[in-house]
Amino acid sequence: MSPLTPASPDLRPYIDELERFADGQMTPEEQDAFELRLEQDEALTDAHAAYEQLTADLRWAAGHDTLRLRLQSLDERMDQRGTALARAHSLAQRRQRRWATWSILGAVVLVLAAGAAWYFSRPNTARPARSWEAYYQPDPGPAVTTGLLHSRPLLSEALDQYQAGHYPAALHSLGRVSPANVGADTLLYLRGLILLREGQGNAAQLYFRRVGETDSTGELVRRARYHLGMAYWQAQELAPALATLRAVAADSLNPYRASARRAVAAGVLEPR
């Protein structure tokens, strides 16, 4: 049955004619003559049938192979597309994860920075100093000059010792100074200063209060009032300390006005 089995006719003697006839390459006369031969020549008829079978099979094979190749090619393209999509998806996910990580890190850094900024820029809530020494403006007393040393050697010695911080010695030296040479108020004032620096606020108050008993308008009285206020404060007598310092703060002529105002404004002397 099959033209390509061993029993099939050999096409080779006829293949040129068969091909020209099948492909329409013959002239009308040649075609008429070939068709007449086909009716009369049995071998040619068999060869023609075998040729037709061959070309039909070839048509099928070419179609089958074409479809196979097209399907394979499409399959590869779809696989590649799927792989590319999966890769793009994975890349997008990785980028998203990286972005999230950086965002979290950024947020943490931001929070830390904000915390640090708040910590370092927060208003200072430390309470104002409550110690009298934090507000005290000491009076070093008159400078010890050569003139003073010659005219009032004992006072000069007392002042020198006071300014050097040797308060008991300064008190002792001051005790030897005659009020007639220096002035009673000056001695009282200096004694009060030395006692105050020595930490004897109660004793210092007595001397400061007595300054200006005869003349209460002089500058020394104004100075003494300030140190009296500080002596009250040192002795923890806050009410008289506040009243005295308020009076100093209100006195525009007092050289310690600014210091007194600062102490009053701090409010540390206010009753709690």
């Binding site: 080779r12 099979d57 099928w60 070419a62 192979d65 399907l71």
Partner: protein, 162 residues
């Protein structure tokens, strides 16, 4: 398939395989899921099975075993795939059919030809190109060269078959 079924069959017979290509593109994923669920087939094997099934279907149309387009092409093709699996037909092998041996032998020899010869014979016998068009496609100087080339390739194939 949007074209009428009868027209699809005619198109397949004259070599227009677009309908089957479209079907594969559209159904590959769904078919693989079906094959995985029903037959525990991995995706690459399922894709191969669908390709073989479509080739079988094409052969049936080409050699006239199918004369009427199935009403539900999808169900018909899935049924064919199931038959292939049940019959344990190896991959890339056609279903047993009349004259398959002769045609398979020709197909095997066809694939032994050079790429140019395969292309020339495909253009002429499958695509139905005339010698002018084939010459243009293949880059031959004229139709006569195309005709001689086709004749030479046909003889080469015939020699391989003998």
């Amino acid at each position: 398939m949007s074209a009428p079924l009868a027209e699809t069959l005619t198109q397949l017979r004259i070599g227009n395989q677009k309908a089957l290509i479209d079907f594969y593109q559209r159904s590959r994923h769904l078919f693989a899921r079906w094959a995985q669920r029903k037959h525990q087939l991995a995706a690459p094997q399922a894709h191969g099975l669908l390709q073989d099934t479509l080739l079988d279907f094409y052969d049936q149309v080409a050699d006239g075993r199918i004369t009427k387009m199935p009403g539900d092409l999808r169900a018909y093709l899935y049924g064919m795939a199931q038959l292939r699996l049940a019959a344990h037909v190896p991959a890339h092998q056609p279903l047993p059919a009349a004259e398959a041996g002769r045609r398979q032998r020709l197909l095997a020899q066809f694939s032994q030809l050079g790429a140019d010869c395969q292309q020339v014979l495909t253009y002429f016998y499958f695509r139905g190109y005339n010698f002018d068009k084939m010459g243009g496609k293949m880059g031959f100087p004229n139709a006569t060269v195309a005709r001689r080339q086709k004749s030479a390739c046909l003889r080469k194939l015939y020699e391989l078959l003998k």
